[in-house]
Symmetry: D2
Subunit: 486 residues, 4 copies
């Protein structure tokens, strides 16, 4: 099977039923509409990279199921080396696009996580989920599908469980189980990369109990399936993406969306969990372990671009980037921390029951806490190096920069470093703006779960009583020292 | 003289010659044009507050020159209590507007700083600068003028001094001295609050040497003076301000601008320094000492709003804000740190030669380092509390929220906390977005000078050799321990 | 009244009944015993300073009660300037001694706090506490008394209140009220500077309720009062103080002690609260507000010495201290932060009911959080600059350094910077060791109360609901948004 | 070959020539002398652990050279799993001993690093270093040798290179090369675990140039070799180790020493580098990569004990350790960060030329920066949880605690939590003191090189120009943007 090209990919998107809205408008062609073409461009770069001799090692892989090279983002990750490529892939994607390409991330992880869990479920319940999944994976690999993934439900009142919500649709649920498939209803929200995807992989958004089994649901649907309405969310400087031209907005980008399922029928062979609530928690556990290991690579890749952008703007201002080397080193430390810890989580992981890799939860969730913190410092340092011009993008618009009468005045005063044009300074400044307060900001703090949630996992995996025993032993304390009730 | 009302203020702006551009368009009426009306609204709230019985203590003051109450922002600050009101005023302004009102800040400080320095110059050079300044101050107080201040020059190549720049206009300079005034030329950039101001107070942007005396310049000009062209800069979500309606954009705001002086004639009685380079450094020293003491109040006032917004969104999500009390306390600690240190700088200050207060430089510049750092943490915490919906403003637009067919779906799934409407949750989320990645972001890191510049001052004021002596004494070291050359 | 000299002070200590123990030994003369002479030396330096023309402005003051100069540490602080001298005094004491001189601190604050509160009590209860206090203050001023202060009780089980403790003596209590005085019983623990003090000022350790009124107690006693046994606590490198000579131990120091009151009779005129539980909380409130404002000066003074020590050791290693300027500037930022915020708390304070100054609680407690954090970073930076030799004091002992056969080898290899002797390098390294992991460490984190306690105060003083209203107003939210119960 | 027992180990130490001094005294038997017996005890626990069924997986290994199990600390690390055991071993050692066991660490790494480098040298120079090394390794494995490692030279003036030092012995040098071996001279300083070691592995302390080739030296010597004098350095609370008994001092410990080589003859078959300066830098590079990867495990193991100690003291104070769960989670995050990043560095490593594993330098050195920072926060948090009693060990000595008359008073007031004895509270408090300001402090900041050195490596490995290109590409900048000279 040949790898898919950018052209193949764009055609596959154009062939789909329009069902995405933004600002009240139905988007006819996601590859050209200004609200979505930048994220499509970002994803398309992964197809280009598969054919780039320097990048193909990262961007292509082999399949245990079919012959010939496949796209990395459709691959099975059956050992540490294969999952480390997930990190390498993501870091490189951010370097190439400056931001998140969610359609090459969540579905990929989802298929690997379910590979183990369908195996477990089949063993316990006699189901044939893994066979269905394998069939789907083979198709995805053959067709180089871009597959967004959807975990987060609308959730409603955060103090209530799914089954207690006044509106039963608040979390996506199985409304009906038929012989040939299931009817689902509800909303998955803040779903990244949908506009650029061919399909959407749904996973349960929580660990459910028996009385909530209607929410224990995993399946994969074409993005344009009947009954699914997609509403794009806002993000910083999305107005520029839609209504502006010129260097005030970068040519790549990210989108997130609300996916509203209004009694959608999903055929049986695309369903991989339907009520087996007992395994819904395990999906979350495996998924977050891998996801939070890998996300360290995302923010480090964006941090790499910030280092480059900081150096660029320093030079454009007329100063050597060596002047700011302490800050650049601190940015690099932040980047390598989340990247390196993610790799550490993988190295301490192990294969699941069906062989696909599961990263170490404790290290992965510790990493998530850093992912929710360090990039904020990296952005601050990038703004610190760049000066006032980048902090809030504080210089006139592209329109004014190129205006017949205003333009010359603006350009005269934007010009700074002697070997650098005013336009280059402007472009570098807009890049920093885009990365730090603009459309390039990915949702790293809460994406894939909140840092508070990660801390709960750290807490759960920290064997305090064992540590108390080590301490007692060193202190020479003989009596037991139980925790008081209060 | 009676205090000016909001109506008086708006009329005064409408009466001015249009000379402000954004997106290539000349803005006819800053009070109604969408690019500028929000910052005008912000400034107007200071006029309302002067008549509010709970706020008038902060918002009005007495003048040593004229009878009756004046607006606080036109006041002389001749003792510690009076300058502390600068901090109280700013913290309250941020609480009322959510962001920066630069037209009520820089000119106010400038007149006080020059009060001392014109006195010094008059003594040394026999000039009559202070008398000119007094005359102007009286007028400003009588008319409740909103006065932006402009220090930052375009600067050009950061590795060269003003006199070395290839383009001599890179820093605003006196092109010609006439009997009746001066001709100035060049650009002041990133000037805050210009659109909402009546006048602009120019100060030298650096400490100049003799060969650079043409840049040693202080004066005040009407905003619509002949020869001055103002180009508004961009800022986050400025597109929404111009082209959108509804809750996706907040009704207050901030602007910054490029001020381009093309051979502007400034009459003599508005000129307060014209070549006295020796005092240019002192202007910077006094200005930054006060400014960096007070700016701690700005970011704390915005931080107060972030605490409120964090509590709001938590509740809108269905959770008690007590759940997040640790984070809220940390936000409060950040706020009180910059506020309290600023007050400390004032308390350790002293009156200048003509009696207006000069804050302590060491503490003020230490505070600036915190102002460039802590608000970033406060914003991060605000996003942490708020969840994914606020991190990047991740939910559908106002248009989709209110759309006839899409709207009901969106509202169904935005609804969360049981006693809180979907609209309130949306509004709270947009406020957090506006504060942390939107148009509400003030330029606190580089505004009034960079943190690296502040660190140089901390370094200069830290008596390392004296501290070496204390250490030697404690260690019982008798020999001198000089610093090696290398 | 003449100021007291070092000689007068030492004599006053020698004249007291020995009642201090360490390592099972009763200390006969605190001025010469190796366990206590260093803290006495530290306190004695305040007497020297009173006669030093450069320091006397800080070290002496005027009394509203008696003529002539008094020692600053006996002064009333009736306005902001007078309380700022508290900070200046403490910062200078740390510079002169490297550590804490508790006998010049807590009693001083105690007398000022009680000045207001005795006034309040007298008004409400018709008592004559303030007259008693005034009489005592006059005596203290006339005699230049060094007065430790004691708040912290043994406390016992932290989950129980004072009245619930299995052992009623756990908190110091009034066992009996007689016509001529009171009998007290219990222990105050971790009391700083006792060994160097003439008297001890007892304050209630908590805000007590009616059923706990026996613990609501304030009085002042001679250190050698009958029935009081003092047991010195351990601290880092106290073994060196007792058994070693030479540069391995610094010649100043600090002590803390357990004060055990075994039915001690305190005559009436030394009792300033005896059961007025309602005011016990106010004592804590006023005391901590001032104490936590001032303690920022303590840690900054020690930080100044650390800057000096860092520069010294860098030079002794052969490097310019400029090499480490970034770290030194960060140390200075930490120092000025706690100092400047403390001053800010004072500037926002106000006189109490009888005129002595009460600092602002919110800023003071915010400062305490920094005091519990920043000095740890300052120490780390000091060790970072100094290299391995200082981190754990990693070089041979003074005995080996001066040993006839081992000594030459050791000195040969300790020698580093070319103009600096091996001995100077050794002394500088030992100073850093003493400051960062040795006997110079003061108890800044928990001294005067824990950072968690300070955060509770920050929380109590942060008007979250008011901030919610500012946020609601900006977001355009009309409905009330109450906090959910859960 | 059977594993060695604790008894075998102690006997091997007792059989050596006494050549260690502390406080001017020659230590006859390191296994019983109070200055050294604690570190011997620490090392001995690794022998016990080899026979403990729960720990033997970590504590024993297989050799590629000899049959039967060997001690892990003598093992070759030829793949990622084997080097990960280095981290597991160290974390466990800290849990068992509370501190550093340097004799089980540096020599182990040294033999592995030289395994690759002797191979390289042999190839380039035709030497037989690897054969000599293999012979020695086999002996070490057969005899379960504890082998300290020595890199750090006395260094002298830090502004001069080794060959420029006024005293040529400042760095250990080859004084003479003979047919049968070499004569070495100079001092290695701050060498950890020497007292508990059988042998010492010397590596070059720097990357040397041709004119410095006499310093390019690697060899291994018996600790008691003729001409070697060892002087123990001081460390916090070492006085207690020597002169005290009871719970004021913990029963394990760490030592560091000055090793003074006075014309020591090292026979040929123990010499693995003698002048091949070109490879001295590579030794440093490989050594630090592994060392700084693994050291993350050391500080995490000590952090585990601090978590246990914090929980213990909270309970002893009468409070549930759950009260402090946020702090405990933060401590755990710090621990897992340095542990996980170290593992990440290993996972990104690769085998060297002769197959022994070389960790990734960039991640390893990033980890070192955290190792120099995070443990300071962990200690602070431990003190924060523990309260005033632990901050400086602020309660009476063991002697007073057990004194016939003073003791009952002390114990009465040390008693706190209801189910916990006063003695347990005292022991827990002393453990925290020992860990945070006492003899348990390892030299993690500068041990194995300073954080500033690590940052230089991060800088060297950060491809700034490549990142500039990514940024240029995203910003659409066509022109080259070279770094200005200045």
């Amino acid at each position: 099977m040949a790898l898919k090209t950018r052209g193949d990919y764009l055609k596959s998107l154009q062939a789909m039923r329009p069902n995405i809205y933004k600002f009240g408008e139905l988007i006819k062609d996601v590859t050209t509409h200004p609200a979505t073409r930048r994220t499509v461009e970002s994803h398309a770069r992964a197809f280009d990279a598969a054919f780039d001799s320097e990048l193909s090692e990262i961007y292509t892989a082999k399949s245990p199921f079919i012959d010939g090279p496949i796209h990395r983002f459709n691959s099975m990750m059956m050992n540490m080396d294969e999952i480390i490529y997930n990190s390498k892939f993501k870091r490189m994607m951010y370097r190439l696009t400056g931001s998140c390409t969610g359609g090459l991330c969540v579905g990929w992880n989802a298929q690997n996580v379910l590979w183990n869990i369908t195996n477990d479920m089949d063993k316990e319940f006699g189901t044939d989920y893994q066979a269905r999944l394998k069939k789907w994976i083979i198709g995805a690999q053959q067709n180089g599908l871009v597959v967004a993934g959807a975990l987060t439900d609308a959730k409603g009142d955060r103090s209530l469980r799914a089954s207690q919500q006044p509106d039963p649709d608040t979390n996506v649920r199985i409304k009906e189980i038929r012989d040939d498939g299931i009817i689902i209803r509800g909303a998955k929200v803040m779903i990244c990369g949908t506009a650029a995807s061919n399909e959407i992989f749904l996973l349960p958004g929580n660990a459910y109990r028996e009385e909530e089994k209607e929410f224990a649901l995993a399946c994969v649907v074409p993005k344009d399936i009947e009954g699914l309405t997609i509403v794009e969310t806002r993000h910083p400087s999305d107005g520029r993406e839609i209504r502006e031209e010129g260097f005030d907005i970068i040519e790549t980008g990210i989108t997130q969306a609300y996916l509203i399922f209004d009694d959608v029928f999903v055929p049986k062979d695309r369903v991989f969990m339907a009520g087996e609530f007992k395994y819904s928690g395990k999906v979350i556990e495996y998924f977050t372990a891998n996801y939070r290991a890998c996300i360290g690579a995302c923010v480090s890749g964006q941090g790499d671009v910030m280092i480059g952008a900081a150096a660029l703007i320093a030079r454009a201002n007329g100063l050597s980037s060596r002047t700011f080397m302490d800050k650049i080193v601190q940015m690099a430390i932040n980047n390598e921390t989340t990247y390196g810890m993610g790799i550490g989580a993988m190295a301490l992981g192990k294969p699941g029951s069906a062989g696909s890799w599961v990263s170490d939860s404790l290290i992965a969730h510790t990493n998530k806490v850093h992912v929710a913190t360090l990039p904020y410092e990296t952005k601050r340092l990038c703004q610190d190096v760049g000066g006032g011009i980048v902090e809030t993008g504080c210089f006139p618009s592209y329109i004014d920069f190129t205006h017949p009468t205003i333009g010359p005045m603006v350009r005269k005063y934007v010009k700074a470093g002697k070997d650098v044009s005013a336009e280059t300074r402007a472009r570098a400044a807009r890049l920093v703006e885009w990365l730090t307060v603009g459309a390039g900001i990915p949702g790293c703090m809460h994406g894939g779960g909140s840092p508070d949630g990660a801390k709960l996992v750290v807490r759960a995996y920290t064997p305090v009583e064992k540590f108390v025993d080590y301490a007692r032993n060193l202190a020479g304390i003989k009596e037991a020292v139980p925790d008081p009730k209060k």
